[in-house]
């Protein structure tokens, strides 16, 4: 395995772990946001922490990922998966054999998932943009001055970590017709 491959795996793994962690944290807030369960599950927080939690999660992802092509789908997917935690909670007694699955239950879950997804998407849009704009300083290499080794692998930076338009292109790109990214 080459150094480049290792770097790519570590970076993708770190982003993946971050996404999973934030999604689970948001999902936990979604589970405790439902007024229907407020007397059965304590503490229950209501919907406001979901909104602000989504803002924080979007901001943290924005700080880490610069490429909008990669960031936008990840953030939307995070909101959708976290909303699905309502289904995990509601269907748990069904899986356990305590309750039966009915169309009313399905309708309730689907409407909650849609509502929570919309609430979170509204929250993450501005915070993600803010995070990706403010995160430039955090995304730099660990030293202020670029390390020669890092400079050497600049062309090998994965596409999802490249700033749009930051690459000026090379002569070979011009020959092959490749557009700079």
């Amino acid at each position: 395995m080459t150094d480049r491959t290792k770097r790519v795996i570590i970076r993708a793994g770190a982003i993946g772990l971050q996404w999973i962690g934030l999604t689970i944290a948001l999902g936990a807030l979604v589970m405790r946001a439902d007024a229907s369960y407020s007397e059965l599950i304590t503490p229950s927080f209501g919907a406001a922490p979901v909104f602000f939690g989504a803002m924080i999660a979007g901001f943290l992802l924005g700080l880490t990922i610069e490429s909008p092509r990669f960031l936008a789908p990840l953030v939307i997917l995070m909101c959708m998966v976290a909303s699905g935690f309502v289904g995990i909670l509601t269907y748990a007694p069904v899986v356990d054999g305590i309750l039966i699955r009915t169309p009313a239950l399905d309708n309730y879950v689907s409407q909650r998932v849609i509502l929570m997804t919309l609430i979170m998407i509204m929250a993450v849009i501005p915070s993600t943009v803010a995070g990706t704009l403010l995160g430039g300083n955090l995304r730099v290499r660990q030293e202020i001055a670029p390390h020669p080794e890092d400079l050497a692998v600049d062309d090998e930076v994965p596409w999802w970590e490249q700033r749009y338009g930051s690459h000026s292109g090379t002569e070979s790109d011009a020959e092959t017709g490749r557009r700079p990214i």
């Binding site: 770190a14 971050q18 962690g21 944290a25 807030l29 880490t64 356990d96």
Partner: protein, 164 residues
Amino acid sequence: MRPNRYIVLISILLGFAGAWLSADAVGQYLNAARSFASVDASYVEGSFAWKDPQYNEATAEFEITNDSDNDARLAHFGINLHFDGRFAGARYDQWEAIDIPAESSVIVEIPFLVSISEIRSEGGDAELSVSGQLRLEFENVGRDMTVPARGTIGHVPYQESNND
């Protein structure tokens, strides 16, 4: 550019906290659902007895079963007596809460008062039935549960031996 390690670490820690909160929420909800599904109220067959030949008052026993893992408290028991499906009377006394330990059952004796004087005389001939509901409070569950209680008693004439 590599992701900032502190941001990734914070996100992972948030994920662990979220996983714990999620598992706890599912556990609490399952506990409540199991408790609600594990209670039953049923009329004790043959326990109904008239206390007087004028069919003014009667008593009947009900068995309340709590098969859940949580202690329960029978906070209220509202039950009506019917003659051939028509309302005839009810339990009118002040209810005192009864504790029902986990995985146990209690038998409660309910006094009935026939309050519809027009049909009182039919008490010995009518098909008797009861309907009502009881309210249970569970330990570790924030919401009360209302359980329907129904039972068919049948024909029960007055027997003097019941009141000896």
